[in-house]
Point group: C2
Chain length 418, copies 2
């Protein structure tokens, strides 16, 4: 079961304890159905006794997946979207080789239109993602208050936890995050003295970048205390505390007026039922004649609820919208004009690959900080996310918009590329 291509997934080579169950012909028949999920890719899926439906004529497998017991086998058939991640996390399913390869294969072999139709996806999404102010606070603490030390282990120095931008493929993660922040500023054609409101400011990197490099003043809203504290102290170190204000509050309570509104990586946490409200906030604070804004968010081609395992373990309350949902429900009611949309999904696949490499190097420290199960959950989440963007299962949209009547907009996009 040793594997030469193993790079990213050291800890997962530990095979779950065999549970002494005898493998029956029924188990083997069920296994065959699971093997089908990876098509003809060189991925061996085996039971706890080593029996497999993998055809040896397909050559040596690049990765081997071992299902640890019968309960896991049945769960994988019942609800694979949830139980693949959960069984891996609980160490009842092991992967020798790169789990990313398995996840990419599953996404690639998923029937193109096997998912729920749009309207059903929308209903399920509405039922599963109602984020009140209190609920939102709980959800965000779940993910972002794990502790800054944890994120320092595998993000860049400035702790930018959103898709980077690689104008040249050889950029480091740090350079690409810097390039992304600059790209956002240029898409908003920020001018010295502009007032900017940011909703969901993470560890403050973009707010600080805007103030420092573009001479604007920023009010940045966030409900994660751990992030806010880090952001404030970084702004103070840089002497920017008078130009960047970090406010610990929900986006719904955003106040003030701005020339530009920006939100990077927060819409995913808003939930479809709150899009109208989110648009209302933008409309309330944005300069009524010349205001413009940018939304940067994970999207998808078709309306579907977010993977159940991700919702339980990683992002409670999250929902990933289609571009149409954002256009219809966030921007249309307020007559905002969409100026520019860019899909950066391959940049996100690359960003996450960087994170995974760093996470893997830090895996032992993560396990000491939390526990083995936590490490396994995060490894699965990062591998799954990279695979989702690499296979076109997920998209990353940057949407630039403006008040409908302003003609003070760049006449072409050429300046973004000079």
């Amino acid at each position: 079961m040793r594997n030469e291509t193993f790079v990213l997934d050291r800890a997962s080579t530990s095979r779950p304890a065999a549970r002494g169950q005898t493998v029956s012909p029924l188990d083997r028949a069920l296994l065959k159905m699971i093997q089908g999920a990876v098509g003809s890719d060189p991925i061996r899926i085996q039971l706890w006794d080593g029996s497999t439906g993998y055809a040896s004529r397909a050559g040596a497998p690049a990765v081997t997946v071992t299902i640890g017991d019968r309960a896991t086998l049945l769960r994988l058939l019942w609800n694979p979207d949830f139980w693949f991640g959960e069984s891996f996390t609980r160490n009842r399913l092991s992967v020798a080789g790169d789990i990313g390869t398995v996840l990419e294969s599953i996404y690639r072999n998923y029937p193109e239109r096997g998912a729920l139709p749009g309207w059903l996806g929308r209903i399920r999404a509405a039922l599963t993602a109602s984020n009140s102010v209190v609920r939102a606070r709980h959800n965000i603490h779940h993910h972002y208050d794990i502790g800054n030390d944890f994120y320092h282990l595998w993000l860049d120095n400035a702790l930018v936890y959103t898709c980077a931008y690689f104008p040249s493929p050889s950029l480091s993660l740090e350079q690409a995050q810097d390039a992304k922040m600059d790209y956002v500023c240029r898409k908003l054609w920020l001018q010295p003295g502009d007032k900017v409101i940011e909703a969901g400011s993470g560890w403050g990197a973009l707010a600080i970048h805007m103030a420092m490099r573009y001479g604007v003043s920023v009010r940045a809203f966030n409900i994660s205390r751990a992030q806010i504290e880090f952001a404030r102290s970084r702004a103070a170190e840089l002497g920017l505390q008078h130009r960047v204000e970090f406010v610990e509050d929900d986006y719904r309570n955003v106040t003030g007026q701005c020339d530009a509104f920006v939100s990077v990586g927060m819409l995913e946490h808003v939930g479809l039922p709150h899009y109208h409200e989110f648009g209302e906030v933008i409309d309330r604070v944005l300069n009524p004649t010349s205001g413009r804004g940018l939304l940067h968010f994970i999207g998808r081609n078709r309306a579907l609820p977010l993977n159940a395992w991700i919702r339980k373990r990683i992002f409670p309350g999250a929902y990933v919208p289609t571009l149409g949902e954002v256009a219809d429900q966030v921007l249309e009611p307020w007559n905002l004009s969409i100026l520019d949309v860019e899909n950066l999904r391959l940049h996100y696949a690359k960003t996450i690959r960087h994170w995974r490499m760093r996470f893997d190097s830090a895996a032992e420290r993560v396990t000491k900080m939390c526990d083995e199960e936590f490490t396994r959950a995060w490894r699965f989440y990062l591998a799954g996310s990279e695979a989702a963007f690499a296979t076109g299962w997920m998209q990353l949209f940057q949407v630039t918009f403006a008040r409908s009547r302003t003609n003070q907009i760049p006449s072409t996009r050429g300046a973004l590329y000079q």
Copy 2:
């Protein structure tokens, strides 16, 4: 009533014959309501006897609008969206000065959210724009079979009747149309040998451009015979008849397979109830793994039916969608990934300004070719269109999309601007 800024609107200075009706206090009260539509702009609106609600302290008016009789006054109050255009066309309302100034003022003074809510707009749109194959043929003949000679009077040489692209503001109309066609080709990263299907090919300029400059082969569909004949003979003159095939057929009957699908300025004629069908055609013909496409269409920020007068006189069956409607109804059902959206509305305002100048110079010839009413209708339509794009009332979207699983997409947009 003479006006120095008068440039574009020579023929409309003729004032309609006064009809000898005595102006009553009620007429003057109604007039005041109409004057409100242009806010405090220097536009004098007056009745057939010269009485006006225009405040002389606002200075000399830039434009004067004369309402020719009481029936026209009442119609303007009853349904201004229809009767302003119709009264102008029938010469029962005259404009001294640039009618474009009046239309821009009306758009700018329109209450930001005074229009129909989205859902009502969608229902009205669905009721008013069901274009069967037969109906579509009738509608398209109405507009495009007026005669190529007519369009030669005021379009560019290659008869491109869609938004141009001005990468530099000083380009001529011809240069800007050429730049637009090239921009479309580059957005589709066309490669020599690619097969392209074009739905709605106008007079064939884009199809010919693609074949001649990018070495692709094109099948172009159109239901306007006058356009097809012109396009075929132009392709033959250039020796391109083996690489560009013009097919006289409805988009629903498009056959073949292609690497790239393109449609410029046709979606407006499809009608919302047929978007699903339109997407189905794209899905049917597009290379299932690496295919990509571009839709170029007039859009708007909020779902509304098209102006009733435009639908009657100019574009029967037309509907102008929101970006969300196109995303949801054309692309989402087929799991197509939106890669890039650009709003070029100010380029369209500029394009139409060029057309208006040329149209105005040719107005006498147009009147000889058709009649005075036709000339007035087209003048109103062109002025209204320019105003709609200049004020943000209408948008012009270019949407680039691709099959969801292909990673053979440009990593950045930089190459478009080199």
